[in-house]
């Protein structure tokens, strides 16, 4: 079985700027994959190269085994891209837009699927409306619909939730998860790390055109993020010196970081021995944001 996406030693310059500095990446069919990185890291460039919107200087890219240059027709049929920019053609209605996009991919008589996509994205009321009259959120839905109109096995979403309200986010994620459940491969870029954390099984972090971390979301969290024990002391309470040395004060609470749950027992024992009165205690989950910042900083050193 071909990987959904195979990227081999891809480099790309824009003038003197090195946008992609040798990317190697393989994404298996059916994955929900996250592509993270700060602005300018090369995420959109990589997606553009995959979609054939730019030509790379060296290396090769393939979608479902079809090279994006030499077999561009089959490669593009396998790929649906939701662009980051909110672009639309003001001359047409929503349904015309979708019918034409379907036609570009050589598919006629696609009305049933177009209806289904319109319904799933809650676009029913707007199907006959001109694109220029739609709100930003509605335009975003049409962009997603356009990317799906040819039922591509691989779907790439470039910051699909940027500037989007809660309702649309939920509609969108419900639909995307359903597609993933039906076997579509999903590749996602986002700045909302909690979205990546909850949906992506595997994540690549990009920085200055390089992949600086590539692992399952669980492993990245384990490796780079820490758990936190958060304590609020009762009035007059004082941390024992052993804990005081490793605690950080935050909004009236003491925060103690730890990697292993066995450490919690030790810390609680120390508190008990010191007869330290506690008014509130909780344990925080590790967050992808921490892992992200850790990776980005590690690489800077």
């Amino acid at each position: 079985m071909h990987p959904a996406i195979r990227i081999n030693s891809v480099t790309k310059h824009f003038g003197a700027t090195l946008a992609l500095a040798g990317i190697d990446l393989e994404i298996a069919q059916g994955e929900f994959f996250g592509l993270l990185g700060p602005n300018g890291a090369g995420k959109t460039t990589l997606i553009s190269a995959l979609a054939g919107l730019i030509r790379v200087d060296s290396g090769s890219l393939a979608v479902m085994g079809h090279d994006v240059q030499s077999a561009y027709r089959s490669a593009r049929r396998q790929l649906g891209v939701v662009p980051q920019e909110l672009v639309f053609d003001p001359f047409f209605t929503v349904r015309e837009t979708l019918r034409m996009q379907s036609g570009y991919y050589g598919i006629r008589n696609n009305a049933a699927w177009i209806d289904e996509v319109i319904e799933s994205l809650d676009l029913g009321d707007k199907a006959a409306a001109s694109m220029r009259t739609l709100s930003g959120g509605m335009k975003r839905r049409v962009l997603v619909a356009q990317a799906l109109v040819h039922r591509p096995p691989v779907i790439v979403l470039d910051e699909p939730t940027a500037g989007v309200d809660v309702e649309l986010r939920q509609t969108l994620w419900r639909f995307i998860r359903r597609l993933n459940g039906e076997g579509h491969t999903i590749v996602l870029t986002t700045h909302y790390l909690e979205e990546a954390e909850s949906y992506c099984g595997r994540i690549a972090m990009l920085k200055q055109g390089r992949i600086v971390a590539l692992d399952t979301t669980a492993n990245l969290l384990r490796q780079f993020a820490v758990h936190r024990l958060r304590l609020r002391l009762a009035v007059g309470g004082e941390l024992p010196p052993a804990l005081r040395a490793r605690a950080v004060e935050d909004a009236g609470c003491w925060v103690l970081s730890f990697a292993d749950f066995a450490e919690v027992e030790v810390m609680l024992a120390q508190l008990r021995e010191a007869r330290c009165p506690i008014s509130e205690i909780n344990i925080g989950q590790p967050e992808l944001e921490e892992a992200f910042l850790a990776v980005m900083q590690r690489d800077a050193e």
């Binding site: 593009r76 662009p83 639309f88 036609g103 570009y104 991919y105 050589g106």
Partner: protein, 251 residues
């Protein structure tokens, strides 16, 4: 072929939806030219013995409208798509560069022909034109529209901003079409301008087109069709190579 047909359909629908601006307006412009020039020059200019100046002017204006509107169609569609970014929907699709070229050119030819027919229809109120050799009329109308439609693709792909496109139009397309014998026979020009006109391919398009109406022309229609056909072949080759390279569209 469905991809190509859809792109062609979209390009036709695009100008059809705003036909007041893309068809009615240029017909009105041509009509104004005809009113003013024929009124002012009727008694002063006689190009061919048997033909009134107004009658002489009609085929020139029809052809000029075809050419300018063919250019306007492909160039403005492309620059709009580029500036608004929606060109990405075509670029993401499996449509090949040759299909892309053909769809834009055919839509441009169609817009040119619709405007040309409109101009011809309103001028019927003045004079019933002769149609000595209708086949030549069709050949030059289609070839001329295809050449300017192709030039429109070059301009639309090249220009990053509307003012660059306007410069292309004002400094290349308008002089080429005006200095081509729309309003006069080049035989009435001083020798220098006359020989310069022979280097303008648009002159051959208009001269050949006019031959179709009257059966008389400044040069043989066979020479005109040769020059026009060769210009088309060269421009088409150039444009296809440009699109294949991904120039400006797939950087």
């Amino acid at each position: 072929m469905t991809g190509f047909r859809t792109l062609l359909y979209k390009e036709v629908l695009r100008f059809w939806k705003v036909s007041f601006q893309t068809i009615a307006a240029p017909v009105l412009t041509a009509l104004l030219y005809l009113l003013i020039f024929s009124h002012v020059l009727e008694d002063h200019v006689q190009v061919y013995d048997s033909i009134s100046y107004a009658a002489f002017l009609v085929p020139g204006l029809v052809m000029m409208s075809i050419l300018q509107n063919a250019f306007a169609n492909s160039s403005s569609s492309l620059i709009q798509s580029k500036v608004t970014g929606n060109i990405v929907f075509v670029l993401l699709s499996p449509i090949s560069y040759a299909e892309f070229w053909l769809a834009y050119v055919l839509a441009a030819v169609l817009r040119g022909l619709v405007v040309g027919l409109g101009v011809l229809a309103v001028t019927l109120f003045w004079d019933t034109p002769l149609l000595v050799a209708p086949l030549w009329i069709v050949v030059f109308a289609v070839l001329g529209g295809a050449i300017l439609g192709t030039l429109g693709i070059i301009a639309g792909v090249w220009a990053d901003k509307y003012d660059q496109l306007a410069a292309f139009q004002n400094f290349i397309i308008v002089p080429l079409t005006f200095l081509s014998g729309v309003f006069y026979s080049i035989h009435s020009l001083p020798p220098f301008w006359q020989s310069l006109s022979h280097w303008n391919p648009v002159f051959y398009m208009i001269d050949g087109f006019r031959y179709g109406f009257f059966g008389i022309s400044d040069v043989s229609p066979w020479l005109s069709v040769l020059v026009t056909g060769a210009s088309f072949a060269v421009l088409a080759g150039l444009t296809l190579a440009m699109l294949k390279s991904g120039y400006k569209l797939r950087s």
